[in-house]
Symmetry: C2
């Protein structure tokens, strides 16, 4: 989910943008493999989508192939990368130094995609002032003081659900531009901050829905 302000602003929906992300990662693999040109049919097959869906998605963002030829892989990848804004480095701060944050600190995908974890905030005295994989851990009490909206772009909140709203309230005052959180609850956020929730219960619910409602099921 994306905050209401975004949905009202007339830009594309979350799912459409999400599909761009999946195309760009496939294009990166194709580029690595030395593939120069790809048709919407071929790209669709790799993504489990129809050629029509691929062409529609890409053209809605202004990306067009050449009839009978397809898309130039390197060019399309560069174009989508620019549209998504991932052709630059994004500095991340992590709220919480728990198991989930460790996953992000060590994420190869983050490094490959220019998402750099720069600061960690936690409330455990044993961690504050230390470094995890070279990244400094600050006292969460100093959040407002230590976040610099000129250099810190996005925050990832990886703390228990009950504390997420209060951290979002505090982040809202720092001027940070975007927040990703995982807690299974809706939050209120100031309009200038893009807030996205990625909830694993939602992903599991999509699976259980399809299994429960599938035709000729044999559960």
């Amino acid at each position: 989910m994306v905050s209401k302000e975004v949905l009202k602003s007339g830009v594309k929906s979350g799912p459409a943008i999400g599909r761009l992300s999946t195309y760009v990662r496939t294009l990166a693999v194709l580029e690595q493999d030395g593939v120069e040109v790809i048709s919407s049919q071929e790209l669709g097959e790799m993504e489990g989508k129809s050629a029509t869906q691929v062409r529609k998605d890409l053209s809605s963002f202004g990306c067009f192939g050449r009839r009978g030829l397809g898309y130039t892989v390197t060019q399309l990848k560069a174009q989508i990368t620019g549209i998504l804004g991932i052709n630059r480095i994004w500095n991340l701060i992590l709220i919480g130094a728990g198991q989930l944050s460790e996953v992000f600190i060590n994420s190869e995908a983050f490094k490959r995609n220019n998402f750099c974890v720069r600061k960690i905030f936690d409330n455990a005295p044993v961690l504050i002032g230390k470094r995890i994989e070279g990244i400094p851990v600050w006292d969460i009490g100093d959040l407002e003081k230590e976040i610099d909206p000129e250099t810190d772009d996005l925050a990832i909140i990886a703390i228990p659900p009950r504390n997420v709203q209060s951290v979002i309230d505090r982040l809202g005052k720092t001027g940070i531009k975007g927040v990703l959180y995982f807690a299974a609850r809706a939050v209120n956020a100031p309009k200038h901050m893009i807030v996205v929730n990625q909830d694993i219960s939602v992903a599991l619910g999509i699976i259980t829905y399809h299994i429960t409602n599938r035709p000729n099921q044999a559960l």
Copy 2:
């Protein structure tokens, strides 16, 4: 993304089902707070959605409120829980015993939502035969032998991206019904298996897109 087979089967789209999951978790909070009735307007405000969107989502799954009164919280929650199939226990197996799996093993949300981790598979000799939080760790080499499709419902794959396809191929032969994975790549899966990918790069891409393309931006 959901596998092609699902999209073709005529059931609802991933985003629509995802919104049901978000409504049900809000309804659970309301129920705990003793709220008996809620209007689509109120529910929409809590979710950052319009009343019209809420009514449309719910009615498309056969959930209707009473005009001028709204929805009975307990009843609507039970109804959605049944539609999503989360009114029963789902037995999970985890592929990989790394940091991400630890998050799931300790997840309060999993426990609350009847998602029970029953088996872990890994290739580290030091872990095989041991238990993590009481859950047995099996040799990934014995995947086909140890998975019982009668009792094991879903698999969560938490291993490096390059190994995901081969594990999905192997899971496909076990008869397990659903798979969730996180690797930033598309996979091929047999038709009987519901495969969903939750990729954090997609979530971050939605944020960076909105920040990059927002009107009157000052980056």
